[in-house]
Every structure is written in C-alpha cells, then in structure tokens.
C-alpha cells in the first residue's frame, strides 16, 4: 500500500520525532560519519541506504546510544538529548534490531524475546508462564513455529532473526530501527516482516529501515536517505524515486547496468555427485550432481534444509545414509579438513559465529585456510601473505583502511567480502556459498558475482544457496528447490523463474 500525497503531506506537517543533527563519529582517528543529519517523522518508514561501510549501522548505533557520538546533536521531540545510552533510548521508546544478532545462546527462546524486561509477578519473581504464553502469542502473530522453552543455542540464524523481530514487537517501541532485518530471511518471512512494518507504521510507529534489498525499500518506505562514505548524499520521498537504478546510482556514485555479471561458460564434467543423502528429521533422499563451471542454485524457505546439505558436504553433519562422489570417486568426509583436502570450500551463512576470527586482522582472516600456500621452510612468508590479501582487498573492494585493521571493526558487508576472499584464494574445485551476499550492497554484490563467474570460468563447480530469488534467477545455470528436507524440484536454466521457485518452495507443482 502506498500513501496518497495528501497523507504524506499530513506527516510532514507533523513535527519530527527524532532529529539527528550534524553527527560525526571517529574511530581511532578515522571518520566513519562526517556531519550526517537525519529527520524522522512519526508514523513513517524511513529508508537508509548506502554501500557497505557507508555508515548506516554506525549512525543507528549512535541513535540508540550503543556508540557515543564524536559530535553533533540528537533531538527527541525537539528536546536535545545528551548522554544517550541503550537504557535511556529504550526508555524513550527507541528499539533497534541490530545487524549483528544479539541472542543469548543459553537462555530460552522466550527469555530472549523478553531480554532485559522479563515479566515479573507481584513478588518480583519471574513469571515464566506469562512469559512463555506471551512469546507464543507473538510467534503466532508472526506465523513462526518456535518453542518458547527451547534453548536458543541450537536454532538457526533465521530463527534468531525472528526472535529479534519478536522482541521488537513486544517492546511496543515508538521508533523502531531495523538494520538489515531480512538479510537472513527467505521470501516467506520477508513477506511477514514487510506486512508487519506497514502495520506498525499505521499504528504511528516510526521505522528506520536499512536494507540492501532494493525491492523492499520500494515496497514499504516513504522516504529514503542515501549515505556514502559517511556523508549524507540526499533525502527524498520515495515517490520521487523513479527506479532502482536511480537509487543505486546515488549510492555507488556510478551507473550500474548489470547486477549479476553472469558470464556463460561451457559446462564441463560432473565433479560432484550426491546420492540418496538422508539424515533423520533434516534431509531425505537428496540426489543431485554438479559439473565443473556450473553454478547450481539452491533455493527454499528457511528451515528447508539447504544449509544442511552444505554441512553434509563439508563434513559438519553426520549423514545417516547416502554417498558423496567427487570425480566419480566415493569419498569419506568426516570433517572440514577432509572436505578441504578434496577441494571443497564453504562460505557459511553465519559469518560472525562460524567465519570470522574477530580479534585478528583482515589479512589474518583472508589468509587463514591458505597459510599452507604461504609457508616457506616452516615459517609463514608474511610478504606473500600481504600481497595476496592486498590483491583481494582491491578485487572485492573491501573497505578497510589497511589489511592490518582488526576485522571486527569492518562494516558487516565488508566482513562478508573478506570471508569470500578467503575461499577464493583457496582455489577450490567445488565452492559452496551459503547466502554469499548476506548484507552485501548492490555494488559489491556485482563485484562478488563477477568473481563467482570468474571462478566458474576457471572450471570451479559452484553451489550457491540463497534466499534472494533474484540471485538464484540471475546467476544459476541450474537450480534445485528444497522443501522440508527434500528436493521439491529441479529447474533447468530456462525454467528458473521466481514464480517456479516459489511454487516449488511452497509445495505446489510447476507446469512445464
């Protein structure tokens, strides 16, 4: 639903609820934000877009008080607020779903939903029953199936994301910040979230919405602000934005014509063959093959078992039955080390927990599985290591001051790029990418896809798991669609359309 010009006028007459004025932020001498201003009106959805490292998350963290600003002013209902901290911002009704998820792994799902504000009874004791029931209600309204009493440790990243969303709802915030809330969600959950955003807006909640998925911006946002390199480029009502290309141009400061850079390469021999792969309750009778130079897309809803296929291939999931053949040779893959030796690379979907070595530098993170390549007579050749890391920093346009910067201080998208670089250097024969562009901006996505194509050209077989239909459609030579642990269908190149994928994912059939 879009607003009539009339309605929008009404909001603009309203006084702003939040004004950020001239915000700057320095990190050990480097400016991440250079005098950014932003005005948010009640009952509107304000999009914040920009490349990775543009400063979106930083700006939001300043608004919630998670970071302290270097200079500038925050006004709430016209009143200046000094010393913003998470507690204060919560008090005035600002709630944020951060880009990096904040789930306490050992607490239950319900407790995570009510983290910091668990309901208590008259004696000050936690009211478990009420908490669990409330959590159940929220989950029901979000149409997700999660046991509130379950420990949060073992749920998937998408489910963790849904916990955060549930938390946001229960807070009854006046200003809700969503920093890439859909980055690990698939179509179904995204739909639920978007309708939720609209619903909240109609209740008068102001929403700040950050996403790299342009279609979402067009669907739910009223206003958009573009940031680039820590500066404010433009704020304009969505009605004045003609198309995606215009917005992207503002973001990346150049014209983009092809987002996917897909190169057609000749498909070679079968490199990987999976036969009758099963794991009770997770995967059932999975059969597929992959050829060299081929990009095989795997689509499906969250929880459909896509990640599990990748895990089984990489020795992370003990399969009950089934065979994995590489070059028609039966293999035994018991752990990642076996898989790597067989030439498999794996970019996981959860970079923070299973990918990044946070205390170390960008260089360390890039070279990690490749140290063997740089080892000369026992010692690691740092020069060679630096050169290669530097190379990939350029190739993937990783925005870091130097390769010696601690990786935890990079923006989310740039961290993702560092991990992808890691596996490209490995020169695998089979590369599995689980949500490779999670949180990556449009421009960088193009760079990553170009590199993926380049790998394919060199004969690497690529499995690409993605929740973004456009990626599957744009990149795959062939696609399989998963549903509840089984392969619902396989689509040949000319059959890969959003429609067909969705039909299979939701359990319908497709017409040939």
């Amino acid at each position: 639903m879009s607003l009539s010009p009339n309605e929008r006028g009404r909001y603009e007459v309203n006084s702003p609820i939040i004004e950020l004025k001239n915000i700057t932020k320095e990190f050990s001498g480097v400016k991440a934000l250079k005098g950014v201003s932003l005005t948010v009106y009640p009952g509107s959805v304000h999009a914040l877009v920009g490349e990775n490292g543009a400063g979106k998350s930083t700006l939001m963290k300043i608004l919630t008080g998670a970071y302290s600003k270097t200079s500038g002013e925050i006004l709430y209902n016209g009143k200046s607020i000094e010393n913003m901290d998470p507690k204060n911002s919560k008090k005035i009704g600002i709630h944020c779903i951060y880009q990096e998820l904040n789930v306490a792994n050992y607490l239950t799902v319900a407790e995570n939903v009510f983290l910091g504000s668990q309901p208590v009874n008259s004696m000050g004791l936690i009211n478990w029953k009420q908490m669990n029931e409330k959590a159940k209600e929220v989950f029901a309204s979000l149409q997700i199936n999660l046991d509130p009493k379950h420990v949060a440790k073992n749920i998937s990243i998408a489910q963790k994301q849904m916990i955060e969303i549930a938390r946001a709802i229960t807070q009854e915030a006046k200003i809700l910040i969503m920093d890439e809330p859909t980055s690990s969600l698939s179509e179904r959950e995204t739909e639920i979230l978007l309708s939720l955003v609209t619903e909240l807006k109609n209740k008068g909640v102001s929403i700040l919405y950050i996403s790299h998925r342009m279609d979402e911006i067009f669907r739910v946002c009223d206003t958009v602000t573009v940031l680039r390199d820590g500066t404010h480029i433009k704020t304009l009502p969505m009605s004045e934005v003609q198309n995606v290309d215009q917005l992207v141009e503002l973001m990346v400061n150049r014209k983009m014509d092809d987002y996917f850079n897909k190169i057609e390469v000749p498909i070679g021999e079968t490199v990987l063959k999976v036969q009758n792969l099963s794991k009770t309750g997770v995967l059932k009778d999975i059969n597929f093959e992959l050829r060299s130079g081929e990009i095989l897309g795997i689509a499906g809803l969250v929880g459909a078992g896509r990640t599990e296929i990748a895990q089984a291939l990489f020795g992370l999931l003990k399969k009950d039955t089934g065979e994995i053949l590489i070059d028609n040779q039966l293999t035994k893959i018991n752990n990642p080390s076996d898989a790597i030796k067989l030439g498999i690379g794996f970019v996981t979907e959860n970079r923070k927990e299973t990918g990044l070595v946070l205390k170390q530098t960008v260089r360390d993170n890039i070279s990690l599985p490749n140290l063997k390549k740089f080892t000369k007579s026992l010692l690691v050749n740092k020069k060679a290591e630096k050169k290669v890391s530097e190379d990939y920093k350029q190739k993937l346009n990783i925005k870091a001051r130097t390769i010696e910067q601690t990786v935890s201080t990079l923006s989310g998208g740039n961290q993702q790029k560092a991990i992808i670089a890691r596996w490209m250097i490995q020169e695998p024969r089979i590369l599995i990418l689980d949500e490779p562009c999670r949180g990556v901006d449009v421009g960088a996505k193009a760079e990553i896809f170009a590199q993926i194509s380049h790998l394919a050209k060199q004969g690497v077989g690529i499995i690409m798991i993605s929740s973004e239909l456009s990626e599957i459609v744009g990149m795959s030579d062939r696609a399989i669609v998963m549903r509840e642990g089984v392969i619902a269908g396989e689509l040949s190149k000319d059959m890969i359309t959003s429609d067909n994928i969705l039909k299979l994912a939701f359990g319908g059939g497709i017409s040939a």
Binding site: P86, N102, Y106, L115, S117, L125
Partner: protein, 334 residues
C-alpha cells in the same frame, strides 16, 4: 466416534511414553552430575560401613557448609563469566574481622552484620574495578588475594584471634533440634541464591551478561551495575561463610581458608556451570559440593594415606567432570 476415541487414547499413551523417555533423557542430559554423585555415594556406602549413617551424613553436611556457602557466591560470579580467586582470603578476612569485633565486645548480631557489610564492600570494590576498568576478574581477584591476605596478617600480626564466646561458637558447632546450625545456614543461603538466580530479573541478567554481554548492554541492562552487584553479593555471602568457619574453629585466623577458592570453583564446575559464563545452576553447585565433601570424608573414613588422597581426589574429580561432559559432547556432535 469410536475411532476418534481410540485415536485420542493412542495419543495419550504416546505422550506418556515420550514423557517417560523424556524424563530419563532429562536426568541424563541435565543430571550427569547426579549420576556421578550417585555413583560416588553408592561406592562409598559399599566400601565403608561408616559412611552411610545418619551421624556421618550430618557430619559431611556440616563440614561442607562453609564450602557450600562460598560456592553459592562463586556460582553467581562464574555465571557472569567471572571468577573470584580471592574468596579464600575473603574467608580469612571476615573470620578475623568477626572475631576481632567479638573479642572487642561488640554484640554478636552487630559483629556479624558489620562483617557481612565489610565483605560486601570488598566485593563491591572488586566488582567496580572489574566492571568499570575492564580488567579481567582473574587478575583483579588474584591481586586482591594477596592484598586481603596482607591486611588480615597485618591486622592480627599473624596470630589467630581466639573467640571464647559460647553463643558464637553455636553458629558452627551447635544444633537446632537434631540439625546442626551450620547446615541450616547453608540451606538458607542456597535457597536464597537459587531464587535470586533463577527467578528474579537480576538473576536472569546475570545469565545474560555471561552469555552475551553486548546483547545485555544493548537490551538496556546496566551491565556494570549487575556485575558490581554480583561481586558485592558474593562478598557478603562469602563473609557469611567466613563467619561460620570462624565459629567452627572458635577463632579467626589469617591463615584460614587459603586455597579453598579452588575447591569452591571445582564444586561449581562439577555442578555443570560453564566456566565461560552464561550457564549454571545452584542445584548443580550443591551436587558439586556434595561430591567434593563426600570424597574428602570417604577418603578419611577409608584411612587412605595422605599422598594417595591427593591422587585419588584428582582422578575422581576428573572422572566426575568427564561424566558431566558427555552430554555436552553429545550435543555438540549433532
């Protein structure tokens, strides 16, 4: 209709069996400490006739009171991801303080109150340093160990302060009916600790901080306060342990309690609390305390020579934790 009913029945039956299975699973899953404790208990009962008597069991419980009270405090601290290596010295300080006060003629209730307050202040100090200055608890409390020990020695000039007061002696040695007072104090502390940890917001914040400090902060939890509070609470509780010990020994000695922090930590970990924080239970800690105390008691009863006691203790603790870790490995290998 008939069909329907039978289906219902079926479901019910299914539920029951799964409930049983689940319960068994839960015992093994959550309670491998229980299994270790049970094994130890059974073995001791078999190999020595002196073990399984009401008298001896009360004796073991009374002996474990000081350790148990300390371990309750330690559980809180470890769940935040911290540790308190100074707990032993705190024991000494509070013993010395309470006996000094009593010898100086301060009425017992007041003397106890002051001692607990001082204990709380010590914890408050450490908690403040840890939470505001970002220094690892290990090192803060290690440094505090020598500082507190030094204070206790300077204060007493190395000579234990002897308490002759018969009433004070009752705390550690006396009985309320058939039950030793020390056991009652221990139970009260454990129950309060359990409720605080598992059923109040403060307790849940303790878990959250140990699990994901950043998440806690971003949820508006005042991490510094909670952490400081935990150490202050820990200090006060440990002071209570020190008072019970002083009463048991009828004196406050600056030497008393040194090294007992390691027993307390071992008990907490044996009880399944995660040393990296975020996970743990008072009930588990109680079992850990029981394991250590029964082990000590049993080895004495069996008249095992003291060098061999050292080795056996190490091996049993290792086995008990190993038993406890099986569940963790089971989970991890999914």
């Amino acid at each position: 209709m008939l069909n329907n009913t039978s289906t219902n029945l079926n479901i019910n039956q299914n539920k029951q069996t799964t409930n049983w299975k689940q319960k068994l699973y839960v015992i093994f899953d959550k309670g491998s400490t229980t299994i270790g404790l049970a094994l130890l208990f059974i073995i001791m009962s078999i190999i020595t006739t002196d073990f399984l008597t009401v008298d001896n069991l009360l004796n073991v419980m009374r002996q474990s009171a000081v350790l148990c009270i300390m371990a309750v405090a330690m559980t809180f601290i470890i769940i935040t991801g911290g540790i308190d290596l100074s707990a032993g010295s705190q024991l000494a300080v509070s013993g010395v303080v309470v006996s000094g006060l009593i010898v100086a003629g301060v009425p017992i209730p007041l003397a106890i109150l002051i001692t607990v307050l001082i204990g709380g202040m010590i914890g408050l100090f450490m908690g403040t340093v840890i939470s505001t200055q970002n220094i690892p608890p290990f090192i803060v409390t290690l440094a505090m160990t020598t500082i507190l020990s030094g204070i206790a020695f300077v204060y007493t000039e190395g000579t234990p302060v002897v308490i002759t007061d018969a009433v004070f002696r009752q705390i550690g040695r006396g009985y309320l009916g058939p039950i030793p007072t020390a056991i009652i104090i221990m139970i009260i502390v454990a129950v309060i600790g359990h409720i605080l940890l598992s059923h109040t917001r403060f307790g849940r914040y303790v878990y959250t901080i140990g699990d994901n400090e950043e998440a806690a902060r971003l949820c508006g939890i005042n991490v510094k306060w909670v952490k400081t509070g935990v150490y202050a609470f820990g200090g006060a509780i440990t002071a209570i342990a020190g008072i019970v010990l002083a009463s048991r020994l009828s004196s406050g000695s600056p030497n008393a309690g040194t090294g007992s922090e390691l027993d307390a930590i071992a008990a907490v970990v044996l009880g399944g609390t995660n040393l990296f924080g975020g996970e743990g239970k008072i009930t588990g800690t109680l079992m850990g305390v029981a394991i250590i105390s029964i082990l000590n008691n049993g080895l004495n009863l069996l008249n095992v020579s003291s060098y061999n006691q050292l080795m056996i203790k190490g091996v049993v603790i290792l086995l008990a934790v190993w038993l406890n870790s099986i569940k963790a490995r089971k989970k991890a290998s999914v």
